[in-house]
Symmetry: C3
Subunit: 308 residues, 3 copies
């Protein structure tokens, strides 16, 4: 006998009765990716790319209005030579009340959570973004396997203003990060700062090299969506720009360009760029992109993504 | 608080509202298996056999009627000495519309998908079938762990006629297979052809040895169900016959015999056979079987299987 | 699109229609644990403790009233340095009818299932119990990973009387256990006996050392809940006492003390004890405890647990 989970819209009549619930949120994509590395030594390749993702989200709300929650994820990224098995990843634990949200376990840091950081990524596989080539190292959510860099974060939002602070352990390193964001007239500006330290004195230089500052912005100009990113580390400065445009109700194009200027004298600037298109099939989305990453590899992809 | 997934029949009122859904389809079995290998060197053994299987099936339908889908499986096969843990296996991805179905990732090939190939398998653990001893090698669905032989298949059905083509990579080998089936007057005939090649020239003979042709048939004669199979490889020819009979509304018996004739001169023919019974408990099924496999091991099993 | 599993209470109207179902029962906890080992050689530590637990329970009922069931568990226990990934564990299989219940696969034994054995454990992480320091070895349910000590058990309950017998394989060892319980006037008394044998003759002494007898009792005296435990092995005798008291409708305190008297002459008695408090937030529970285990390590913990 088959069990079907009902879509949310069907539950209006009963939603008020369920204080504790479990949501299953799935998504998947498959398509082909073309890569042609710089120089003639390596042959261009065309390969299959698949992704399966299922989030199991549990939550409960106390009488006083605190929401406790958990999330585990089952993700499998495949190719034409293997479709891996995937144990549920390390869990995330959350506690939220009145604009304040605490998260711990497998949870992302304040840099990874900056608004617009990943805006206007290109294509089915999001192979180029405004950050490409900037050489940033920060703590994110770990989608596959154990999380050996767990952390804790606190987020607070009041009106148009938001702040988030996070701290993650990665072996002997500690990543402390902070972001602040402000939204006005449809534009959102966010500033992120990260400080990395290492309990082993000999590793101080390597840790300091991960200190970073980032500024992101996103909004609309007429019928264009526009995003920008500036990042800075000891090693250099990066700038990214992105734009999107709705050709029709179902079709959207976007473009991104990222430039990185290393501070070392003699080191060359790098540039990454791409242009993408997505077409809504009404339940699934066709996506394609073409561009070049910071290592001057030409990449193109085409496929379909959908949620369930 | 407990969450119960409602059985499909309870959802008639809301089914039209859910374009995207997730189904959980579970099954399990447990019982005992007796094995007595040919010759007196090895003692006969009796052991516990368990299987847990949960399929998580996600799907969504576009406005234009294309259905995209995914499947992952959690399976654990146990014995009296271990009940293994089991990570969700490699995912399957599907896209279907108007009789055409594309599948990729962890997906079965055209030989494995032939109608009646597995018909009339014996007992709780399906230890003997029409194919037993035929020495066939083809690509199936991988229920446990990573799929390191992923593939792609296309299936097309129109009226009583169906075709399926598949291609799988297994290291340096490529398995290409095709099947065609036709149903008439309650009988289904299917023809399958497989060609295996290897990108390493030295492995050509080993790959060619996996080339195969198979013909299956299934239908009814009075109150008997009857199935047949003929297979051919360079190494020999196999023939299988199966039959089933409903003793009562709840009780069914079936039998199978398989004979294999190696083409090498001097090599002996092998025979496998078995007889089984299943009794429907109205929600679970008692199953038992006894027989002998192609290696002349006597096997008997008895147990219960159920779905949830 | 999001899928929400409806809480049981919303299903009254349809429950009669679902003979086969799947339940998802989740729970989680997070908090901090302080440990200070005896002696000054080791520094006291304070660490993060998290647990994620999701049970996937499938069941079906036959027309004749037999209920078949399965359970798999996804559990991840984390700290400030890692939040592990976790494949579903080995499955448990059950069959129940009219007070008789058969379980096999990853299933707990008759000692582990004794009533009140784990009563009045202390704190968020249940770090001390009535059994602490008794040095008992018996077969339980294996929450994480493969179960390499699977077993079989039979439980029978009639009125106020219950018995359970179990047998588990652990390599060359066999754990056979039995418990019997009786409930009268709000008190439950249970007796458990375990016999361990080893198929390797040289291991007989080690197996015999695991033979044990246990007697537990639990009930209420006025507004106090009271529990007791006596255990005996060749190595010694243990006694445990526990009590709980409801300060208010939402707040409960409990305490436990365990004493162990080794039979070897000259060996010292050990004592473990603790006191805990839990406060119901109406959907989540605050828990805290402080105590000392049998190795004289001082432990304190504090955190929150919730179900979903």
């Amino acid at each position: 006998m088959k069990k079907i989970l009902i879509a949310t819209t069907a539950l209006v009549a009963t939603a008020g009765m369920a204080a504790a619930d479990i949501q299953l949120n799935g998504s998947a994509r498959f398509g082909v990716v073309y890569k042609d590395a710089k120089g003639s030594a390596t042959k261009a390749t065309t390969g299959l790319n698949t992704r399966y993702n299922l989030d199991i989200v549990g939550s409960t709300e106390t009488d006083s209005g605190i929401t406790f929650g958990t999330k585990i994820r089952i993700r499998s990224d495949g190719s034409e030579t293997a479709q891996p098995a995937s144990a549920p990843n390390g869990a995330e634990f959350t506690m939220a009340s009145s604009g304040l949200k605490l998260a711990l376990g497998n949870t992302s840091g304040a840099i990874d959570s900056m608004s617009n950081l990943y805006a206007n990524e290109i294509g089915l596989t999001t192979f180029v973004g405004m950050y490409s080539g900037h050489g940033l190292s920060y703590q994110g959510y770990n989608s596959i396997g154990a999380d050996i860099t767990p952390g804790v974060s606190v987020k607070y939002a009041v009106g148009d203003f938001g702040v988030m602070a996070s701290s993650h352990k990665a072996g002997t390193e500690t990543y402390n990060a902070l972001n602040a964001s402000y939204t006005f007239s449809g534009w959102t500006v966010a500033l992120g700062v990260q400080d990395v330290s290492d309990s082993v004195a000999a590793n101080k230089a390597a840790a300091d090299a991960k200190d970073l500052t980032a500024l992101s912005v996103g909004g609309t100009v007429g019928s264009f969506g526009v995003t920008g990113l500036i990042t800075n580390t000891k090693a250099g400065t990066g700038i990214g720009l992105g734009a999107s445009y709705e050709i029709s109700a179902a079709t959207k194009i976007n473009a991104v360009v990222s430039s990185y200027d290393p501070s070392a004298s003699g080191a060359k600037n790098t540039t990454a760029y791409g242009i993408g298109v997505s077409h809504d099939l009404g339940g699934a989305t066709l996506k394609a992109g073409i561009g070049q990453d910071a290592a001057e590899t030409t990449i193109a992809d085409l496929g379909v993504s959908f949620s369930f």
